[in-house]
Amino acid sequence: MTPEGLVALGIVGVTAPLVPGIAVKTKSLLTGRRGAPVLQLYYDLWKLIRKGTVYSRTTTWVFRAGPVVVLASLIVAALFLPLDGRGAPVAFAGDVVAFAGLVALGRFALVLAGLDTGSSFEGMGASREVTIASFAEPTLFLCFIALVLATGDLSLSGMLGTPLAAAWPRAGASLSLVGISLFVLLLAENSRVPVDDPATHLELTMIHEVIVLDHSGPDLALILYGSALKLTLFGVLVVSVFVPRAGLSGPAAVAVLLAGLAVVAVAVGVVESVMARLRLTRVPQLLVGAAALALFGIVLQVH
């Protein structure tokens, strides 16, 4: 565990709430509005931690544990990402499985907390969340398999680190497909358009927002920050595939990563401005499409 890696992690952690901020700002500007400030999420978080909490009488400790587990699992998952382009604070063979497992652990806790309220709205959101995740997770692993084929390494530090830079000249086409597939996954896993609309106001049409309907105060702050962090982590995956930073010095690599995250955020905002949300029954098709892209990425490398 290197100090540089932890500093990079700290920087990414502090800047995470900017990513959804930039996406929202992009969408506002493109649709002819001024929009909320880019720093809005920071203000919201600061406001929420100072508030009290309201707990439903139906809930148990599972509801209280939800936000805590979501955030803790995402922070541990961040330890596996090579933010400086070379190596992560924690790396071992097969840590991709641990990364996916931690994302799943966060989802498990979040969805159970939603069900703990006994509300049919939250049950509906939970059902949709796990349905979409069932299609997203195999796609994520297809991307990992393509990266294993390209780099021969079983850890995220290798897949997204030095061996990846060496693999680009050989397997550029394949890696581009993987990057696009990961971007679609980013949209789906983080409840963005075209899978979910973070700006919707009708409970019946929500997915992520409706699961957290009963969370308030600091609990909601943990969840909002967790969502921003998850978006950032998937953004790091996308940026790392497209821009191998192994050749750069540590600070330069982190700077490139932050610039890349800003580009991803703008791209998310552009997608939200130019297309409508898909019908819920079409979402699996979108994700199977992303899986097919990753599969092409694999086929291109099998010889």
Binding site: A93, V96, S127, F144
Partner: protein
Amino acid sequence: MTWLGISLVLIVMGGVSAAALSRRPALGEMLFRLLFGAGCLTGAALALAVLAGAAVPDASLPAAAPFGAWVFGLDSLSAVFLLAILSVGAACAFYGLTYLAHQRGHRAIGAAHLLLALLVTALALAVAARAAVPFLIAWEGMAVAAYFLVVLEHERPEVRRAGMIYVVATHVGTLTLFALFASWAAGTGDLSFAGLAAHPPFSTGRTGMLLVLALVAFGLKAGAVPFHFWLPEAHAAAPAHVSALMSGIVIKMGVYGLMRVVVLFGPPPPWWGWVVLALGACSGVLGVVWALAQHDIKRLLAFHSVENIGIILLGIGAGALGMAYGHPVIAVLGFAGAALHTFNHALFKSLLFLGAGSVIHATGTRDVDRLGGLARRMPITAAAFLIGAAAIVGLPPLNGFVSEWVVYQALLRGASTGDAMQVAGLAAAALALIGALALACFVKVVGALFLGTARDSVADAAREPARGMLRPQVGLAVACVVIGLSPIAVVPPALRVGSLVAGLPSGAAGGGLQIDAAAGPATVFALALAVGLLAAWTLRGAFGRRQRRLEAATWGCGYARPSPRMAYTASSFAAPLLGAFRSVAGVRPDHTPTTFATHVIDPVLDRAILPAWHGVRTAATRLRPIQRGGLSQYLLYVVAAVVTVLLYLLVAGRHP
């Protein structure tokens, strides 16, 4: 081996004392507890010693036995199964003492305890047998004991039906095993495992026949798709602690059989590895999709056993392919992952069945759609069940994650080999699909049983069961957590099992190969995650004490009079996923404008086996006229048969 003998004798004596002292149940059950517990401890200590590297010499039965020597032995493969049998067996037996206690008046529960002891003994003998004949005897003893336990509540017609399906399926498997061993030893006549292992090279056709027979026989026992049809019926019909033992242990004997066949046969041809891998992927995905469709909690858990057998078969398939294509590291990792997942699944699946048993005991219903909110009435059961659910889904830092991670490693390493094995890497995506669907299913179960509000009044009177039923659950939950936190302690023995199955020289883990399975860093990760979760929980609690807290009703989006009937049902929860998989899900949705329900059918049992069976019965009815019961008619048949034989000898048979 003497210690194993002592252990099994103690277990049987425990069972006998429970049955013989049924007039004085307190004394009988105390003796059962003592003897059974002591027997399990003795045997488990022996198994642990073998897993740690101790060698145990084989033992032969001294008297002249039919069909060659009866040899018994313990290697690391047997030991890992023995450990699972004895630890889960003890948990289930102790749970059963309390679970069956209220039926003492009208059922011979002492006999049920004896049968359970006999089942555990037969299981232990099956993994210790080193010759075909004692193996088959133990195998049959296991099937018969399990049958009588399944039909314990025989007054219910569905239990009798399940028992019949089970007994037919298991005997088809046993007959296939007879064929397997007979044709394997056809050249030499030596039925000991050592003799089978020293077989001369088989022809391609003979190899194919043997390996297919092994797949059918052991696949039937394991409940792999398409041989799973008996499993949900039998496991749902049995009492909870028997379901736990059957789902946790008995079906694993199929896994043991497959791995033992690989040990004895040597490197299988590539096609066999591909078939096992494909069966694993099908069992995994279909098992979990069918589980999603269930409303009956025990049937649901039973289908998850099909799913987990799929995961184990993915490991065995990766191992067999690694052997066939000459990648020993992948072979060891695949078999090690399969062995470890077998053990872990034994722990968390029996935990889940025992939890389900407590819920059924407390509420009297198995229908998940009627339950809810039990976490407040049964907090310990709920917490243990939640741990089991997170473990079976494969979430870190629990034991299911550790074994799935080893299987993933085998598959992902397969992807980077650069030969035909690369295609096996795609199975990692199937494993991810299985994991995500399992998460959906267990969110549904935990949510429907323990969270929210009950849609029915059955849950109103529910309360925590007696300590005799809680302790086994807590013990199993603790085991799940401990294994999850210590990959460094469990992965090396699993690798030793893997190298034994992969045919590498035993001894050191990996058999001289340097396998960096990264168990050390994984342990650091698991501990760090556990510490992180605890720290976050403590911090949140400390912070929460300083802030204002209010209690209110759940936000109903402005609706002022929410009722429990409005809670989302488990069927509705699963509906979107079942819609996406409707072509294979075996679900008939049934909705009117105001109601929604799903009906479940088993595609294999209801669409293939039962129609085929009815066809056979119709055909048999046509034959009935020849058997009318008249003596003169039968004498005519005898004369006709003798004449036919004489004619045959006259025409064709110069040889007698």
